[in-house]
Assembly symmetry: C2
Homo-oligomer: 214 residues x 2
């Protein structure tokens, strides 16, 4: 993640997103209050970390009963969803693209996948899980007409570099790149390269490290 002066650190933003999901699940179960150490335990971190994160966003209504779940959810909503709904496009509707689309569909998030793009004529011009699938030649128009701010790149890695220019030209502001090809964009476009192989190789490395220590 590069190119932005951020007021809240990246890791805190990630944890806020994670806390919110836990809080929503608590709320569903009728839990009204939660202590920082309980929230910390669920996420495998310290209570100090939780309190520090919430202090950073100016939330300080810790009571003897713990945090008010509903109030904290709304507080995090304001921080994370400040600008209302964000429309998202998915480039590449193979298995991964479809998995991501299905994962987000109907979850009631403020992030909405509203358009998909592919090169396969069997897919373009149709709807996949309720999402219209377009050709890449239509990309710029569809982005403008649908007010799409973020794209998820789930194309084959070999096709990813050709997407950089269309993405810049269409005025996209954020890219979540799932391919193994690192993508570079000018300052002002938020990029997260999120390759599964890297994460799995990291887990494998630390598993082996642990075995050597025994």
């Amino acid at each position: 993640m590069a190119g932005l002066r951020n007021t809240i650190p990246e890791k805190t933003v990630e944890r806020l997103s994670e806390y919110r999901r836990t809080l929503l699940s608590c709320h569903k179960q009728g839990i009204t209050h939660i202590f920082s150490h309980v929230l910390a335990g669920i996420h495998g971190i310290t209570a100090v970390q939780v309190r520090r994160d919430l202090m950073l966003i100016g939330f300080s209504s810790d009571t003897k009963k713990g945090y008010d779940v509903k109030v904290l959810i709304e507080f995090i909503n304001d921080i994370l969803d400040g600008g209302g709904v964000m429309n998202i496009g998915v480039i590449g509707m193979g298995h991964l693209g479809q998995a991501i689309t299905k994962y987000f569909n109907g979850r009631g998030l403020k992030l909405r996948i509203t358009a998909a793009f592919d090169v396969d004529p069997a897919k373009t011009g149709t709807e996949i899980d309720g999402i219209p699938c377009y050709e890449m030649s239509e990309f710029e128009d569809v982005v403008a007409n649908n007010d799409i701010g973020i794209v998820i790149v789930s194309s084959p890695a070999s096709a990813a570099s050709q997407l950089v220019l269309p993405i810049i030209n269409a005025g996209i502001k954020g890219v979540l790149n799932f391919t193994s090809a690192p993508l570079n964009f000018p300052q002002g476009i938020v990029v997260e390269n999120y390759d599964i192989t890297t994460i799995l190789e990291k887990v494998a490395y630390f598993v082996r490290e642990g075995e050597e220590e025994r």
Copy 2:
């Protein structure tokens, strides 16, 4: 990632994995040498960072022509794949599980998905993309017989917490959790919680931050 004293920092391990993929692609194209600043440019980081990472693993054969691509690949192979092939199981063969399996199949990595698990009787007892799919009741036996060290959890979030005990009991050493439910394991088990919603919410947050600054 917790529970291990690590000699190489997490972020360096991630970057080594990323450098290697770039180097392999260079090697395929017949490129024999690469400068640190070129490698850095591809990955959107500084040449100092690249040199620091390679110094950390003891690689210092920078010449006037840059790094020898083939030698560096083999050097990183030794670090990341030290223990040979690592067998991996996938729990949950929905769209995401199948996408991950297809993604890894036939990529010639030292990480091999060798077994899948699901609760759907239409899937268990069959092969999906060449990977045998078992019931969860067979989990412990299959892990032992196939020498599986790592599992990928791509089940529905609601089912994830029930998987913790079987995973511990089977002696699994590393978990890559794709569900939105955070999973806690005892020390000694490497866990990476890797939720797509969190990453996407993070990208959206920094996109909005950037817009406010303008």
